[in-house]
């Protein structure tokens, strides 16, 4: 597996003229000059687990960007950069309503998108489960860098839950992208739209993505085309067409 | 997993006009039964997908008793089984037939 590209290097490549993006306790916020305007960056760095405080801090940053867009009339693109753990697993987080906080973060990103902010996810390290859904997966388009390692659950844990031998799961994982961890499988599923080329300027690649945003949610189509989710699009379309019929 | 199919000839068609019904849930020790009125009035086909291998003769007996008792002529019955006991299978089959008779 290629090495993970560090956040510093990513930011340097995105903002050749410098930026005001900071990382505090693993939470990324800030912005920098981008093309004619600015690029807002939020995210998670350093394999950090996302808890209630972190989710609300990121959602605050997203809503601030939306507010700025309201007043300026210019909808800045929002980049959600992720190298995270899963959601923080603790009694306290659940007690305080982690599901609401994560959903709120996702809703903030979806609202930004709805109001015209281009939203782009960038997974450059690990991410999993609720943290992934609330961040990078809540953007219009999700890009990855080689070395990214998204997953829902690692294979030993899958083995424990499904009571299948690890060796068998490993063998199955080689041919079945639908359950196995790893970037290639998330690409095949359609969750990750594109893998960027670290050898080319990142800012240009990002600008190209923003210029050519898909019109809506095309992840199930990608999943069918790439073979990682063979039937989802067909089923969803069948539901839509039956619902539209009388 | 094991697939089993049984075909029976019945003495009569199952009364009622309902085209389709489903009962039960696939879970441990439980099953779902999908009934469709798509066959000739004296024919019944029962296709089973079961999670537990090696009980073909028990299924055969359960199905034969069910057909003799319910006379489900005209029905194609499809079963997804999560390892239900024979009495649960019989019960679900009868519950399904009752829905089709409505």
């Amino acid at each position: 597996m290629p090495a993970k590209m560090p956040l510093d290097a990513i930011l340097a490549a995105l903002f050749p003229a410098g930026h005001a993006v900071t990382v505090a306790e693993g939470l990324i916020t800030g912005e920098g000059p981008f093309g004619d305007g600015r690029l807002v960056v939020v995210g998670i760095d350093g394999d950090t687990a996302l808890g209630v405080e972190g989710a609300l801090m990121l959602s605050r940053a997203v809503l601030d960007a939306v507010k700025a867009g309201e007043s300026s009339g210019s909808r800045a693109p929002i980049l959600v950069a992720v190298d995270s753990d899963s959601q923080r697993m603790s009694r306290r987080d659940e007690l305080l309503g982690l599901n609401e906080c994560l959903a709120h973060l996702a809703k903030a990103l979806l609202l930004a998108d709805h109001l015209g902010h281009p939203t782009v996810g960038l997974i450059y390290g690990h991410s999993a489960a609720g943290a992934f859904i609330a961040t990078a997966l809540a953007t219009r388009v999700l890009a990855a860098l080689p070395g990214a390692d998204p997953s829902v659950m690692d294979l030993p844990s899958v083995a424990r839950v499904t009571k299948l031998p690890l060796e068998k799961l490993e063998a199955m994982a080689a041919s079945t992208p639908v359950f196995a961890p790893g970037l290639d499988n998330m690409v095949a599923t359609g969750a990750v739209h594109v893998v960027l080329d670290p050898g080319q300027p990142l800012d240009a690649q990002l600008r190209a993505l923003i210029a050519d945003l898909p019109p809506g949610d095309i992840r199930d189509r990608l999943g069918r085309e790439r073979g990682g989710r063979p039937v989802a699009q067909v089923i969803a379309e069948r539901v839509v067409s039956q619902a539209r019929g009388t | 997993m094991e697939s089993l199919t049984f075909r029976h000839t019945t003495q009569k068609a199952l009364p009622g006009t309902k085209r389709e019904a489903i009962i039960g849930v696939v879970a441990s020790g439980n099953l779902e039964v999908l009934l469709e009125r798509v066959l000739a009035p004296d024919a019944c086909e029962i296709a089973i997908e079961t999670a537990i291998n090696g009980y073909g003769d028990v299924w055969e007996a359960v199905v034969a008793d069910f057909v003799a008792r319910a006379q489900p002529g005209g029905l194609r019955i499809s079963v997804n089984d999560g390892g239900a006991r024979p009495d649960t299978v019989s019960l679900r089959l009868l519950q399904g037939v009752r829905l089709m008779e409505d």
Partner: protein
């Protein structure tokens, strides 16, 4: 308490006990439900056979249209007993398709009857992606002015991605048995140890993520008895009280959740939070009858809001 005969009024059916199909049939106006991609279409999981696992004709979710007090609605109901109601490829695609259809058919509401442990591990990537798709679709449906209402009272609760989808809905109704959470108690215990969360302490589980706790803290907007009729009444009331999906709502939610962390961030237990919310006898909350609990909720301003 329900002491009913087999032929009793189906709306008195226990929500917790009922199957997804029973819930839908008894929840909607009688005989109005029309299913999309029904069981006879045999839209089953293409992946479960690899794991030697049995499939279900509906992949554990029922979707379709019907009427609620005469108003047209779209409805999805998860079957918590099949694979824990978990999101697989087909399961998730059916929900996503229903939500996308809402934009075209403009129902009075979309109702999601949650009963899920989250992502189906055997189809984890498909399930996780479908959850993201569903959340995006809900945002679009809500932005179009159509309320999306979640109902939670099944045996599997609303866990994992299910908890996130629930948090994306405009309104939520929950019963005592309903649980809403991201990580389940067993998952937390497995990862962090029994000192962090003893999953066998059921009372603790419910104080942490159960229906009463969620209602008192504003994590759900209605608390209902465990009957289909009660959920139906709650859904009808919530449809007309759904907040808009706009900046004002999300700013209000941001403030609401920040205030929650500030006030209760140091609490270790649900009962501590209830005290700070002004509940006189927090130890009595778990055993409270539905009526007494409704009275308690009425005295807690934080429980009711438009910030979701």
């Amino acid at each position: 308490m329900a002491v009913t005969s087999a032929s009793a009024d189906p709306t008195r059916l226990s929500w917790y006990e009922a199957s997804a199909r029973q819930r839908v049939a008894a929840f909607l106006d009688a005989d109005t439900f029309q299913e999309f991609v029904g069981p006879a279409e045999r839209a089953m999981s293409p992946h479960l056979p690899l794991f030697e696992l049995p499939r279900a004709f509906d992949d554990g979710i029922v979707v379709g249209r019907g009427r609620l007090d005469g108003r047209p609605v779209l409805v999805a109901a998860q079957e918590g007993r099949f694979m824990g109601g978990a999101f697989g490829e087909v399961h998730g695609a059916k929900l996503v398709g229903l939500l996308r259809a809402a934009g075209a058919v403009t129902p009075a509401a979309v109702l999601i009857l949650f009963d899920t442990g989250g992502v189906r591990l055997q189809e984890a990537n498909a399930g996780e992606t479908a959850i993201a798709e569903a959340m995006r679709a809900i945002a679009e449906v809500r932005a179009a002015g159509i309320p999306v209402i979640g109902l939670i009272g099944g045996r599997a609760g609303a866990y994992g991605g299910g908890g996130l989808i629930a948090g994306t809905c405009a309104r939520l109704a929950v019963s005592e048995g309903g649980r809403i959470s991201v990580s389940g108690p067993e998952v937390i215990e497995t990862n962090k140890g029994a000192e962090e969360f003893d999953s066998r302490d059921r009372a603790l589980v419910w104080r942490t993520m159960g229906g009463k706790h969620r209602r008192l803290t504003g994590g759900a907007d209605a608390y209902v008895a465990d009957t289909v009729a009660a959920f139906r009444q709650a859904a009808l009331a919530l449809i007309d009280r759904a907040p808009a999906f706009d900046l004002a709502t999300l700013e209000a939610e941001q403030a609401r959740l920040e205030a929650r962390l500030a006030r209760f961030g140091a609490c270790r237990d649900g009962a501590e939070i209830w005290v700070r919310l002004g509940v006189n006898d927090p130890d009595a909350v778990p055993a409270m009858t539905d009526a007494a609990f409704a009275e308690t909720v009425a005295g807690v301003p934080e429980a009711s809001h438009d910030a979701r």
